[in-house]
């Protein structure tokens, strides 16, 4: 396949540990930045990215160009502005940013400099999860190379634009990925989310205008500036523009990660790229985009991976990394595993989440250990509403309810089997 069709991973090659500055330049690396600084005003860059139709790859799919345009960049006197790169990647089942960070760090750095220019930020922080040590080493090295080549630092490529990039490694907590909690973490505080409004674009890090973008989002940016918005839009197969890293884990023959056009049908990902289910296993369902997305069923295999279409099917594309449920894994136990994660990682700030998630775990545990009561299923349904959108301080709890609510709908008989068979047994004694 021509590398133009898969811009994000074109420098990732077998037999090469990672792309050096030289490797990156060979495929046109830093040309987008050169063009940006030589020919374009910050507002032009915003417009290019808006026109390209780039939507955030951190899970929510917000228009990147639009987000940048909300940053006040003309006010006098000028005040500090920040760009923050969300490299926290802690959502179970998600393993896409790691690849981009480890294999082609300069692609991210170029995206960062262009984005920082678009919002006139003088400082950027890469917020990296603690466990991504290899990524930290490679980024540090790449930052040194980029500095020596005048791609970062003072007067980048002899322009008026200057940017410092700092690497901040986290100390481990899923809630740090939520953008306002991430800002608190960067300020050295407990990572609890902040009330919104004010939104970060106006009042973020230390109260300054701040844009938070996902790693994969920013990796798209150099290519848009290099080849243009129309080219970028043309990469998608349906409503959404560009390519995306899609992945599959679980009992498929070839778990992995592939850069494919937006709008690639789920069936193609699971059957052609992941090579179908392992021998002896059948597909029972899947979470299309990480732990906090609703289950879909084999009947949804022809749904294309794009934001609005997956939403219409009743789930979310999320991070685009599919977790596969096979017919020999119990969906109730799988949901228990997921809810344990969310309960443990809840920051405890708001009551519905702090109390509701441990309660959810207790109920699920009772069910799988044979202590479930028929009314528990109603209680669980009620919890999915109590912890749903609008009732909690941030999106962690509503995300936690997505796999549960869809499991209750699609795998009800599995829940009931635990409750009623055990009950029958007990009653029979």
């Amino acid at each position: 396949m021509a590398t133009m069709d898969r811009p994000l991973t074109q420098n990732i090659r077998t037999g090469r540990a990672f792309a050096t500055l030289e490797d990156y330049r060979k495929t046109g690396g830093y040309e987008g930045l050169k063009k940006t600084l030589a020919d374009l005003k910050p507002k032009d860059v915003q417009q290019w990215v808006k026109d390209a139709g780039l939507r955030g790859r951190g899970g929510a799919g917000f228009s990147t160009g639009l987000k940048w345009s909300l940053v006040p960049i003309d006010q006098a006197p000028a005040q500090p502005r920040y760009l923050v790169i969300n490299a926290d990647e802690m959502e179970p089942g998600t393993f896409k940013d790691r690849l981009l960070l480890e294999k082609d760090p300069h692609q991210l750095l170029e995206g960062i400099v262009i984005a920082a220019y678009a919002i006139q930020a003088q400082t950027a922080y890469i917020f990296l999860r603690a466990e991504y040590r290899l990524a930290a080493e490679r980024l540090t090295r790449a930052m040194q190379e980029a500095r020596a080549a005048h791609y970062i630092g003072a007067h980048i490529l002899d322009s008026d634009f200057s940017l410092e990039i700092h690497l901040h490694t986290s100390a481990g907590r899923y809630i740090c990925g939520e953008e306002s909690a991430l800002l608190n973490a960067l300020e050295g505080k407990r990572a609890t989310p902040r009330p919104k409004p004010p939104f970060a674009v106006v009042s973020g890090l230390w109260g300054r205008p701040t844009v938070v973008n996902n790693v994969e989002t920013l990796c798209n940016v150099p290519h848009i500036l290099r080849h243009g918005a129309d080219w970028y839009k043309g990469l998608g197969r349906g409503a959404d523009a560009g390519t995306k890293l899609f992945g599959a884990s679980g009992r498929v023959k070839k778990p992995g990660l592939w850069e494919l056009p937006m709008g690639t049908p789920i069936r193609e990902i699971l059957e052609d790229h992941a090579d179908g289910m392992k021998d002896g296993y059948r597909l029972r369902g899947f979470l299309p985009g990480g732990a906090s997305t609703d289950f879909l069923l084999p009947e949804h295999l022809d749904v294309p991976m794009e934001f609005d279409t997956v939403a219409k099917a009743g789930s979310r594309m999320g991070t685009g990394t599919i977790i596969v449920l096979d017919d020999k894994t119990c969906p109730v136990q799988m949901v228990l595993n997921l809810e344990r994660f969310f309960a443990q990682e809840s920051c405890g700030w708001c009551t519905p989440c702090r109390d509701g998630l441990p309660w959810t775990v207790t109920l699920l545990q009772d069910i799988v250990e044979g202590r479930g009561r028929p009314e528990d299923l109603d209680t669980l349904s009620r919890l999915t509403r109590m912890l749903g959108p609008g009732n909690t301080f941030c999106a962690l709890a509503p995300g936690a309810m997505e796999p549960l609510q869809s499991a209750l709908k699609y795998f009800r008989e599995d829940f009931e089997r635990y409750i009623f068979q055990n009950r029958t047994l007990k009653e029979a004694v």
């Binding site: 500090p80 990647e89 802690m90 959502e91 179970p92 089942g93 998600t94 393993f95 940013d97 790691r98 999860r129 603690a130 466990e131 991504y132 040590r133 290899l134 700092h166 901040h168 490694t169 986290s170 100390a171 481990g172 907590r173 899923y174 973490a185 960067l186 300020e187 050295g188 505080k189 407990r190 990572a191 890090l205 230390w206 992945g247 599959a248 884990s249 679980g250 009992r251 778990p255 992995g256 990660l257 732990a291 990394t321 977790i323 449920l325 096979d326 894994t329 799988m334 595993n337 997921l338 994660f341 443990q344 990682e345 920051c347």
Partner: protein, 160 residues
Amino acid sequence: MKAETNTRSLSAAEIDEINAELPHYEDKSAVSIEALKIVQKHRGWISDDSLVAIAEYLKISPAQLEGVATFYNLIYRRPVGKNVIHVCDSVSCWMLGSDRLSEKLCRHLNVKPGEMSQDGEYTVLPIVCLGACDRAPVAMVNGELRPDLTDNIVKELLGE
């Protein structure tokens, strides 16, 4: 070596590393997490004395720093073994048998999860998804990723 550096004052090396972080942020308290990680790197874990030493250096209250220290999963407020083994217990690894493997490892080392082995060599801890789910089940030994684990986990992780 680790035990004797567990004192109420920061070492010169620790102070140098913390100072190197200071210019990156708008205020001093922002380096709390970095400082905790730096001191933990030198001392293995964060004792009460270490906590007070850092708080004094950053001019924040020990209570505030304690709130930060206990929030994050990878700041240890209890001693850990010389080798820390993190076994992923999130969904994709769980599906592929990580709890069985973790049990096997703990049985071999004669520890419970979170507990230090008697000789002070090992601590096994559960950890959330390590972002390598296509290589499940996965663990991390002293920060280094160990993917594609099998029932030979003891050999694979300890080389025994």
